[in-house]
Amino acid sequence: MSTKSEKIGEIIAHHHGREGPLLPILHDVQAEFGCVDEDAEVLIAKGLNLSRADVHGVVSFYHDFSDKADGRPVVQVCRAEACKARGVEALMAGAQAAAGERVKLHTVYCLGLCSAGPAARVGDKLHARLDGPALEKIIETVS
């Protein structure tokens, strides 16, 4: 706990003086701990002189922040219109089967690769022109 509060303190100090520092702080906390939980919210609220409700409102609004860490590897799959037009929906059953409980399949709306879908993202690595076997291979090899 103490190391956690120290780390969050460092993050807040790092963004001190910026205009509208809350989102950059939340991004860093999410990246560091895999979530922004209750403890983190309290510390951030204190550091920025906000109420915890203010911070919680922001955390719960955005898809990128979660209140519980999910240790599983994540594969983001785009299921927006352009990827639907290129047949992503037909791949989803196989992808779910490949993911099972081990991998978290996360639907995103648009990775900006709309002319070469279906597309997926693992960390900062993007994949395009996927077919069933290619997507399943990504899911099976992600760690």
Binding site: G20, L26, V58, A80, E81, A82, R86, G112, A128
Partner: protein
């Protein structure tokens, strides 16, 4: 040493451009990672001495270097019909320069707009931008010059320039390509906007789904800080909320709040970021500015296009299309030219069923309407919108009823929750569409109870459900605060109008039993 050019655009990298670049480097070639030409169906594209090879894999490397590989060779890239037919202003450097090389940017006319802007001063800049006819490329099409004039004439010690780079629309990627391929051009446009309105701080709000764009903008900003000074600029990363592409919601997000839409007025131009006068423009709008500010740029821009839609529009061909990619051309091009001649029809080879123009909130257009010209007013008259210029093609296997349902589902998932028509209407919209597709509905046990005097005695028929959906869409269209709730009816109603057969469910609902 052979000079090989390979794009480092996210799309090329997703298709193996990095491995390919390593393979060429391993053979002793000098590899330049340049921006993408926008011929996405050919990525990864390799260029040596102006000649291109498309969809190259590591196995082709030896062939290409040995002068073979004819079957994947596309000849001189600039002469390729897809490129030769375009009129590129915003994407003039596409495929030719290294994105974060100051040297390349300067050698291709970079910073000339900013230098001239500083000489002629704020008022003249606003005048030139107004004269060029540049309209906001984010979707609303509001004249950029008028917005700038409002900010310039509003008193305030601190003003801001905010670039809306929250390109969440499916089927659009032009912003991403500007940020990844020509970041200095965007920064120059922002610095000019700052000069015009008297703002010394800029923010670029980029969505978190674009890690490559964020990295390149950060790198570019660090390299050019001394050139744009005293203007300062910073990248801010979004957090996965689609609605933050709406300008007031974006401003709230930048301030560190929930990305809820603000009621207008006050306009952001008068009370924007932290309550200060703020220019909020889309990436493509700001990236068009450096060219307009060069000598004679405004007149050239004004001479292109038709009616009140001036200049060029980077159109994005996406979805099930044979030749997908970025096509920048003057306004006035018809949808048929774009989809059939330029795009080559569907990739699957099946007939085109529908085309969605303008992202998830744009109308589905039937092939019968393909003579429509790319023009803000012409689309509005046809109950459609240009939006951000994304064109998503669907073949005849698409289920338009499912797409209409998805539009409502998407709106429900992404609604900021501030206004009722969008927050609740979208949820009800999904339910109504489900009922239409199920053929109507029968009253549930509670509705059949004797005390429920006002509940309908009979089930609603499909026609009644459709009337309900139409009514709901009207309410959302006119009652929502922003375009998310206000434009979701476009895809829904256009799908219902042109493909009613996709909404047909099984039989009529069974007549209500108890009474």
């Amino acid at each position: 040493m052979t000079l090989v050019r390979i794009s480092d655009d996210a799309l090329a990298r997703a298709l193996g451009a990095d491995e390919l670049a390593d393979a060429f480097a391993g053979k002793g070639c000098e590899v330049h990672r340049v921006s993408s030409w926008g011929m996405h169906w050919l990525e990864p594209l390799v260029e040596i001495g102006g000649i291109g090879w498309g969809r190259v894999t590591s196995e082709d490397v030896d062939d290409i270097l040995a002068g073979a590989g004819d079957e994947i060779c596309i000849g001189p890239i600039e002469a390729h019909p897809f490129i030769a037919r375009q009129q590129r202003l915003t994407f003039a450097r596409a495929g030719k320069t290294r994105p974060t090389s100051l040297e390349d940017y300067e050698a291709t006319g970079g910073w000339q707009g900013l230098m001239r802007a500083r000489q002629i001063g704020g008022e003249a800049i606003v005048e030139e931008v107004t004269r060029s006819g540049l309209r906001g490329r984010g979707g609303a099409g509001f004249p950029a010059g008028i917005k700038w004039k409002t900010v310039a004439s509003t008193p305030g010690e601190q003003k801001y320039v905010v670039c809306n780079a929250d390109e969440g629309d499916s089927g659009t990627f032009a912003d991403r390509m500007v940020m990844e391929g020509d970041p200095f051009q965007l920064i120059e446009g922002m610095a000019i906007a700052g000069e015009a309105v008297g703002a010394d701080q800029g923010y670029i709000y980029v969505r978190s789904e674009y890690p490559d764009a964020i990295r390149k903008l950060d790198e570019a900003l660090a390299k050019c800080a001394h050139i744009i000074a005293p203007f300062r600029c910073e990248v801010r990363v979004g957090a996965g909320a689609y609605v933050c592409g709406e300008e007031t919601s974006l401003l709230n997000s930048l301030e560190g709040k929930r990305g809820e839409v603000r009621a207008k007025p006050p306009l952001p131009a008068i009370e924007g970021l932290f309550g200060k006068p703020t220019v909020v423009n889309n990436v493509l709008t700001l990236a068009a500015v450096p060219h307009i500010l060069t000598e004679g740029g405004a007149s050239l821009y004004d001479s292109l296009g038709i009616e009140r839609s001036k200049g060029t529009m980077p159109i994005q061909l996406a979805g099930n299309i044979r030749r997908g990619g970025l096509f920048e051309t003057a306004f006035g091009v018809t949808l048929r030219e774009l989809v059939e001649d330029i795009g080559g029809g569907t990739e699957s080879g099946r007939p085109v069923k529908a085309v969605q123009v303008g992202g998830p909130l744009g109308a589905y257009i039937h092939p019968d309407q393909f003579c429509i010209r790319f023009d803000y007013e012409e689309y509005t008259a046809a109950d459609a919108l240009i939006g951000h210029g994304g064109i998503t093609v669907f073949d005849d296997s698409a289920d338009m009823g499912a797409m209409a349902r998805f539009a409502m589902e998407f709106c429900a998932a992404e609604s900021c929750g501030k206004c009722t028509p969008c927050r609740i209407g979208a949820v009800r919209g999904v339910e109504v569409i489900d009922r239409i597709r199920a053929g109507g509905r029968t009253p549930d046990p509670v509705e059949r109870m004797p005390v429920m005097h006002n509940a309908p005695r009979h089930g609603r028929s499909q026609e009644q459900e459709i009337a309900l959906l139409t009514d709901l869409c009207e309410t959302m269209k006119f009652g929502s605060l922003c375009a998310l709730g206000g434009f979701t009816p476009y895809p829904v109603m256009s799908a219902l109008k042109h493909w009613p057969e996709d909404f047909v469910g099984p039989a009529e609902p069974q007549a209500e039993a108890a009474e």
